[in-house]
């Protein structure tokens, strides 16, 4: 189909799955950390702030290496998760999802945090006087009002996850069918003679996916914005 080989389809399917899982798993943490940074003052806030944005400024290879020594089979966190929960990251697509999630995380947290900072908190007070406890206030007022920021964060994280290369290849290598995403496949194809045509097809696919994500996010953001305008 579309002149793509089964191996190329596998890379595309893998890329989408990894990016979706990475974004979905990052979202609850993104909302929680965004809320903490927007609303709370606590000891170590500057440190947390820095840690969250670290993957954005570190060389991806360094992030990948740090993941390898902490979440690898013999790393302290990786060994713990494997022994007690049976979750293994090294050389698995789950590891690729982890590294993509980590790399996309700062891009997700930032718009969520900004959205939470601009919400009129007097609306939350009003909800409390109407009988909503703190959890209900968050679910029925805070989160819906922050929705445009959440959507922006999800799209940015998804796009970053889709394009992630350096950290992923360092952490879980480049295994066809397991950790070889579109980016890694293009890189591999460019290393071999006559790989240009196949690489070109995957480049086109990458462009199409990125554009589709962008258009979808525009559509969602517009819908969310329209709700406040009174449509």
């Amino acid at each position: 189909m579309l002149g793509l080989s089964p191996a190329e389809w596998t890379a595309i399917e893998l890329s989408l799955r990894i990016a979706l899982v990475a974004t979905a798993c990052a979202l609850p943490f993104g909302i929680a950390i965004g809320w903490l940074l927007a609303r709370k003052e606590f000891w170590g806030k500057t440190l947390l702030d820095g840690l969250v944005y670290l993957p954005l400024v570190l060389p991806p290879v360094v992030t990948g290496y740090l993941l390898l020594i902490s979440f690898g089979r013999r790393g302290p966190i990786g060994a713990f998760l494997a022994d007690y929960f049976g979750i293994v990251f090294s050389f698995r697509w789950t590891g690729a999802a982890l590294s993509c999630g980590v790399m996309g995380f700062p891009l997700m947290v930032r718009p969520i945090r900004l959205a939470l900072e601009t919400i009129d908190r007097r609306l939350e007070d009003a909800a409390a006087t109407l009988g909503a406890n703190r959890v209900l206030v968050f679910l029925t007022v805070t989160l819906p009002l922050a929705l445009p920021g959440v959507i922006a964060g999800v799209v940015l994280c998804f796009a970053r996850a889709l394009g992630e290369f350096g950290a992923t290849i360092t952490f879980v290598s480049n295994i066809p069918g397991e950790t070889q995403t579109i980016s890694a496949a293009i890189y591999t194809l460019l290393q071999i003679p006559d790989g240009d045509a196949a690489a070109g097809r995957l480049v086109l696919v990458a462009i199409v996916i990125a554009l589709a994500a962008l258009i979808a996010s525009e559509w969602f953001a517009r819908r969310a914005g329209m709700r406040f305008q009174g449509e």
């Binding site: 007097r122 609306l123 007070d125 009003a126 909800a127 409390a128 006087t129 109407l130 009988g131 909503a132 406890n133 209900l136 029925t140 007022v141 819906p144 009002l145 929705l147 709700r227 406040f228 305008q229 009174g230 449509e231």
Partner: protein, 230 residues
Amino acid sequence: MIVLAVDVEKRLGSFALAARFEAAAGVTALFGPSGAGKTTIVNMIAGLLTPDRGSIIFDGTLLFDAATGINVPPHRRGIGYVFQEGRLFPHLSVRQNLDYGRRMSGHPRDADQLHRIVTLLDIGGLLDRRPRLLSGGERQRVAVGRALLMRPRLLLFDEPLASLDGGHKREILPYLVRLRDDSGVPMVYVSHTAAELRWIATKVVLVDAGRVVATGGLELLKDADAYELE
């Protein structure tokens, strides 16, 4: 009969408030110039602001008591609050705004009650609109309806007409008077406009510079015309 007894102190930066008054059934007006601390007082009654010292007793129970550490959170006080700017939820329709209090407290739907209040406030034609598309007067009527539909034991009004122009003020006042006479819910009504309070108040508490300076009937409004200039 006294239903609300407030005796609170609060320091906010260089502003010190120490207020003590009681309210009975009917409409108790907190009257005084802007910046006197009237809003601070109603926020403490609602539970949105914690006093430094003192106590708030409503209907025989302590809502706040600094000495024993009692501080009932706002969502369990059962006190309706109509804010100066309405504070309708922009992401919900008028109908959903009106229904919010009932949903949050888990009460069963009550079509009769909804119909009664929608008729009282004349907001039947607005139910499917978004707050953004309402006029100032419509918005405040919906805000009053929303506070009423949570079945409050006490209603707080913080300058509900201040953001409206003259014509819209006159549009709302008759509804509030009707509310006072029909609902039987005691109210605390903040305003710096004597003319407005002559319509609605049954008791006046004069507040100035963070202190209650006098308590009495509507005659207090006469001496206070200087505040009109604000």
